[in-house]
């Protein structure tokens, strides 16, 4: 049975980074060059649920192995967000994480990828001062910007090995091994803990919130830290530290009314006709 995470015989202390983002099924937009995030339409970045799930599974595997006490191990979720971001942390509590930290400050608004990574790294370092952090887990991307770069930058900022876009995660003797399928390549990578890990949506199926946890999440304490608490310089993040500046953000005109044909036996011909009429079919010699 000593296989996978269970063979990590010490209680694991894991930090998960999670972002508060506009729900992708709502109208999303910008105001003054920044993404609009309101309590009505904001949510925990869905892909960070996979990160939370991966962290919980690793802690639970340690407990199940018997090598670790039933109340040992900890998952702390950190978000950089305004007060509305508490909603994301409450969702994380519902899934069973132990602690929630929100890093907040007006000076953090307008942070770019580097600023975000600097702030999250400072929060991880502070948690590390309380007790060692074994692993940092992130989602594969924030669904608002789809950057997929904060995990890489966070790892570099912390000086920790980074294993990105894991589809499969194994832990044995303090060494983390991941399988990742990126672009057209399958790679197996490994690194010793402590490390930074990002997981894809194929890594696991996030659990549903438990009833007891939903009740407890309502009143659970959220820790709020300022950039100053983390010893961050004024230009470490926010607009002051950003290396890019948004010049324009404009909604695109809606698509024209679609042409819809109901198939009564000639739907395929209508489709071919549409494509040819709109010059979307290349000449025969180019298609092979």
């Amino acid at each position: 049975m000593p296989h996978g995470p269970a063979s990590y015989g010490n209680p694991m202390r894991i930090v998960v980074t999670a972002k508060y983002v506009p729900d992708i099924s709502t109208e999303r937009g910008f105001a003054d060059g920044r993404v609009v995030r309101t309590a009505a339409e904001g949510t925990l970045n869905e892909l960070d649920e996979n990160a939370i799930e991966a962290a919980l599974q690793l802690v639970e595997a340690g407990r199940a192995s018997g090598a670790v006490g039933a109340d040992e191990g900890e998952v702390v979720v950190v978000t950089m967000a305004g007060p509305d971001g508490d909603m994301a942390l409450r969702k994380a509590f519902q899934l069973g994480v132990d602690r929630g930290v929100r890093v907040t400050g007006d000076e953090l608004a307008g942070s770019d990828y580097f600023g975000t990574a600097a702030v999250l790294a400072a929060a991880v370092r502070r948690l590390g001062q309380e007790a060692p952090v074994d692993l940092v887990v992130t989602g594969m991307a924030a669904l608002d910007g789809l950057g997929s770069v904060v995990p890489t930058l966070l790892g570099a900022e912390l000086g920790l090995p980074t294993l990105n876009l894991a589809k499969k995660v194994e832990l044995a003797d303090g060494v983390l091994t991941v399988t990742r399928e990126v672009d057209d390549t399958t790679e197996v990578l490994s690194a010793p803990l402590p490390a930074v890990l990002s997981v894809t949506d194929g890594a696991n199926s996030p659990r549903l919130p438990g009833f007891k946890l939903i009740m407890a999440a309502r009143t659970k304490q959220i820790e709020v830290w300022s950039p100053a608490d983390l010893g961050l310089a004024a230009d470490a993040a926010g607009t002051a530290g950003a290396r890019t500046e948004v010049l324009v953000a404009a909604p695109r005109p809606p698509r024209a009314e679609p042409e819809i044909v109901t198939d009564k036996g000639e739907g395929g011909i209508a489709l071919a006709d549409y494509l040819i009429r709109n010059d979307l079919v290349r000449p025969a010699e180019e298609t092979r």
């Binding site: 890489t152 920790l160 197996v188 690194a191 819809i260 011909i269 298609t287």
Partner: protein, 327 residues
């Protein structure tokens, strides 16, 4: 900084082929300044000829070492290694801009190189231009619903560019590229590459992330991708899937926010409902066509043309008609 003396580095990894996205990057780069390529291995003769045709005079080939030992093999393609090579090349050439394709691996390399160089980073740009001496990148965000532009405020800009952002065109005059080696000393790596395998594509179809035409199938195929493939082949298109279809094992690559983001000239979705996660990865396509048996399918809200019908009948008929009309 004037237009003409701007140096633009384009990453070419691997250097054994020039993919369509690389030609697009070279085309964009020529509009910004002088183009040079960066590789991690020796380019082939064919590759050099193609680069020359696109105006690349110099190819910088990284010679990697760590602790006095040469670094060769698969490890060269790891993002940290690619990043070190790019950062060293920027320092060597005093380049102002680095362009990479938008793939997951290239995004990682871009982030690390930009961090090392103190450079501004733009991910998944749909356009790159210069304005008032700064690099300005355009992006389509929120599933193609918004257009944004941002200026890079640092001296060096690192930009990943999505496929199909420009139509690739050769340089007015071809040149003969010179390959110049340069030394890159790598830091010790805490990450071990256990294995690496590149999927060989023998389908003869264009790669999904770069194709000008994409035909994708979803749950509505009920596992039979035959009609999807037939139409794709009639159009010279790439084949994709929805995540549900891919997770069922019906096709291996899927379109969407967590799969491959595509913005082709033409996207055809068959038996795909158009869930927000899927739309996020294809809504920036120029023309969207849907084939779905449910007249209420959400994908109809974002399409230009649709057929309400059974895909197993509509797609083969369309394929046959295209083959017939094209002669």
């Amino acid at each position: 900084m004037t237009h003409s003396n701007r140096t633009v580095l384009v990453l070419l990894d691997p250097a054994t082929e020039v993919r369509p996205s690389a030609l697009e990057l070279l085309t964009l780069a020529r509009d910004l300044g002088r183009v040079e390529a960066v590789t991690l291995e020796a380019p082939t003769v064919e590759v050099l000829a193609q680069l020359g045709g696109h105006g690349v005079e110099t190819v910088h080939q990284a010679e990697l070492s760590r602790d006095g030992e040469c670094v060769t093999g698969d490890e060269r393609h790891l993002p940290a290694v690619v990043a070190a090579a790019l950062a060293a090349a920027v320092r060597l050439t005093d380049a102002d801009v680095v362009l990479l394709p938008t793939s997951f691996a290239a995004k990682e390399a871009a982030a690390l190189a930009a961090r090392d160089l103190g450079a501004g980073l733009v991910i998944d740009a749909a356009s790159v231009r210069e304005a008032d001496g700064r690099v300005v990148a355009g992006k389509r965000v929120f599933a193609g619903a918004w257009d944004t532009e941002c200026a890079v405020t640092t001296d060096v800009a690192v930009v990943t560019v999505r496929a199909n952002s420009v139509v690739a065109r050769p340089a007015p005059a071809a040149v003969e590229p010179v390959v110049e080696g340069y030394a890159v000393e790598l830091a010790p790596s805490p990450v071990t590459l256990v294995s690496r395998e590149v999927k060989a594509d023998t389908s003869g179809r264009p790669p999904l992330d770069q194709a000008a035409v994409v035909v994708a199938g979803g749950r509505g195929t009920e596992g039979d991708f035959g009609p999807v493939v037939e139409l794709a082949d009639a159009l010279g298109a790439a084949v994709g899937a929805s995540r549900d279809a891919a997770f069922e094992g019906w096709w291996d690559t899927y379109v969407g926010q967590t799969g491959v983001t595509v913005a082709p000239r033409l996207y055809i979705g068959a038996g795909i409902s158009g869930a927000p996660h899927h739309r996020g990865g294809m809504q920036a396509s120029q023309v969207i066509v849907a084939v779905n048996s449910d007249p209420e399918a959400p994908i109809f809200e974002i399409c230009d043309f649709a057929v309400v019908g059974e895909l197993a009948e509509v797609l083969p008929q369309a394929a046959a008609e295209i083959r017939r009309r094209r002669g």
